[in-house]
């Protein structure tokens, strides 16, 4: 069964930017790509568990604020040292200008 969680109004995130989002002891990073689409990944870098929301979004890439590890935030793929473990990604949707994130119920 799926579970859609309300995140925030679409306008709260600039295009080509990222925002943190916390929900029931989990933290996420919510992105808007340059074209405006919304994506979500787990919030912490897989190198030293630093929050990615202070990082820089350029095109499809989020660069970690701490030691510049890079991930493709659409696929979650880690793009090379110092990060090798991928990020989890989560489905998102926008309805009436509000962002929702889908969590799988275990």
């Amino acid at each position: 069964m799926s579970n859609w969680i309300e995140v925030c109004p679409l306008d709260d995130i600039d295009e080509e930017d990222v925002m943190p989002f916390n929900h029931s002891e989990q933290t996420f990073a919510i992105y808007r790509c340059p074209k405006g689409e919304v994506f979500a990944t787990s919030g912490l870098c897989t190198h030293e568990r630093i929050h990615l929301a202070d990082g820089l979004v350029m095109d499809d890439i989020i660069e970690c604020p701490k030691h510049n590890g890079r991930f493709n935030y659409k696929s979650g793929k880690a793009l090379g040292a110092p990060v090798c473990e991928h990020l989890k990604t989560f489905p998102t949707k926008v309805e009436n200008d509000v962002i929702y994130l889908e969590l799988q119920n275990l």
């Binding site: 080509e16 202070d54 820089l56 604020p65 030691h67």
Partner: protein, 411 residues
């Protein structure tokens, strides 16, 4: 013979090996490393290495991962000499290895002071430096709340140590010969914020302080040239590092504050390259020859060296990036601040600022920032791109906190 040999499995050596394998799936690659165990990251040694009770060195890559990539990893022996003419090295166990191309990535060693009339035992007991995981372990085993510790040198390692030891309830005094902390490393505006944080956290920093002598009984007694005396339970010397150039020197390679390389990371011998803390290189933005101790720079240089060892023609022309963590503050720097033509400071609060340097052509040369956590990370990343793309900037906009640096990039 086209085999690739790498001396040293630090950030540079490992990055070179992995890049070589990514670019060529067949070429034989060997790394020789003095230390046993997996290659590990050094930056945590002065940070979580001293504050985290469960700290374990973080590996850069494991032996198993290297084996998977068919990279031969010889540990626990060192390279004793290089015969550049015969293209062969001799190991400490007398074995000889031939090479087609060689990368020297031997890093640097902690510089220490000479303590006159001091026994080996006293040195062992009272005096520490910090470069390796075992140095970190020695310091960890020494730490007890309530102790009094003197750190000699207000460089990055000394200041990070101060912050980490304060977190362990140790009384810390830092001695610095210069009139301010990080005199040659960071701009004044940033140093001032950092100094204040040390003060607020109870670290005593004594500037303009030179040591006359140090004597030991059950404690260390440090006498300053001013006549003042300070007692310490132990001390750490953090006065910079010395590049490990012996091998290169004996092999007849050019040395100039490190192994001298060109923008291709090639030494004075066409089949021998050097990268990381051990080399000095021509810095693309100012043409000055510099030697750096920067984690990412070591990796970037190694990747360039690897490409050229395989016959490519790639130059290292990026702005070096550096970070330091002290207390809750994060410092980051890109490019090399050197008091250039037009300094600009963007004030972001009482404990945060960005300092930029711009040349006469309005190109950004360097940016250094400090702030709580990763507050300034994004702006440093944008500055990095502005520098590397040689973009022109407006000094007024750099100074204005409401102006988004990203807009300069899109221009």
């Amino acid at each position: 013979m086209n085999s690739m040999l790498i001396i040293g499995a630090g950030e540079a050596g490992v990055r070179a090996a992995i890049t070589l394998r990514e670019l060529d799936s067949n070429v034989p690659i060997t790394i020789v490393e003095t230390e046993k165990g997996d290659p590990y990251e050094r930056p945590p040694l002065s940070k979580t290495g001293l504050t985290d009770a469960l700290f374990e060195p973080k590996s850069i890559v494991t032996k198993a991962q290297l084996a998977e990539k068919h990279i031969q990893f010889i540990t626990g022996v060192f390279v004793a000499s290089i015969d550049a003419q015969a293209k062969q090295v001799t190991l400490s166990n007398h074995k000889k290895l031939m090479f087609g191309k060689l990368l020297i990535a031997t890093g640097a060693s902690a510089r220490t002071l000479s303590f006159a009339n001091t026994s080996e035992e006293d040195l062992e007991h009272f005096v520490f430096t910090l470069r390796t995981a075992s140095d970190c372990q020695r310091i960890r085993s020494k730490v007890l709340a309530g102790q009094k510790v003197v750190l000699i040198g207000a460089g990055f390692i000394g200041l990070e140590l101060a912050a980490s030891l304060r977190a362990q309830q140790i009384k810390v005094t830092v001695l610095e010969t210069q009139p301010r902390i990080l005199q040659r490393a960071v701009p004044e505006a940033v140093a001032r914020i950092l100094h204040k944080a040390h003060h607020q956290n109870g670290t005593e920093i004594k500037l303009n302080s030179s040591i006359e002598n140090v004597t030991f009984d059950h404690q260390a007694h440090i006498k300053l040239t001013s006549g003042k005396q300070i007692e310490a339970d132990w001390l750490v010397v953090g006065i910079g590092s010395i590049p490990n150039v012996n091998l290169a020197q004996q092999a007849g390679l050019a040395i100039e504050n490190g192994i001298k390389v060109d923008t291709h990371m090639q030494t004075s011998h066409k089949d021998i390259y050097a990268a990381g803390d051990v080399c000095s290189f021509p810095y693309a933005l100012t043409q000055q020859r510099v030697r750096l101790e920067s984690w990412r720079c070591a990796q970037e240089q190694a990747a360039i060296a690897a490409q050229n060892m395989l016959g490519n023609n790639t130059v290292y022309d990026l702005a070096p990036w550096f970070w330091s963590d002290q207390y809750d503050l994060g410092l980051q720097m890109v490019g090399l601040p050197e008091g250039a033509a037009h300094p600009v400071t963007r004030t972001l609060g009482t404990s945060s600022c960005l300092h930029f340097e711009v040349n006469d052509e309005n190109q950004l040369l360097s940016a250094c920032g400090i702030g709580v956590g990763n507050q300034i990370a994004k702006d440093i990343k944008l500055s990095e791109r502005l520098i590397n793309q040689r973009k022109t900037v407006s000094i007024e906009k750099l100074a204005d906190p409401s102006f988004k640096l990203k807009d300069l990039l899109k221009k």
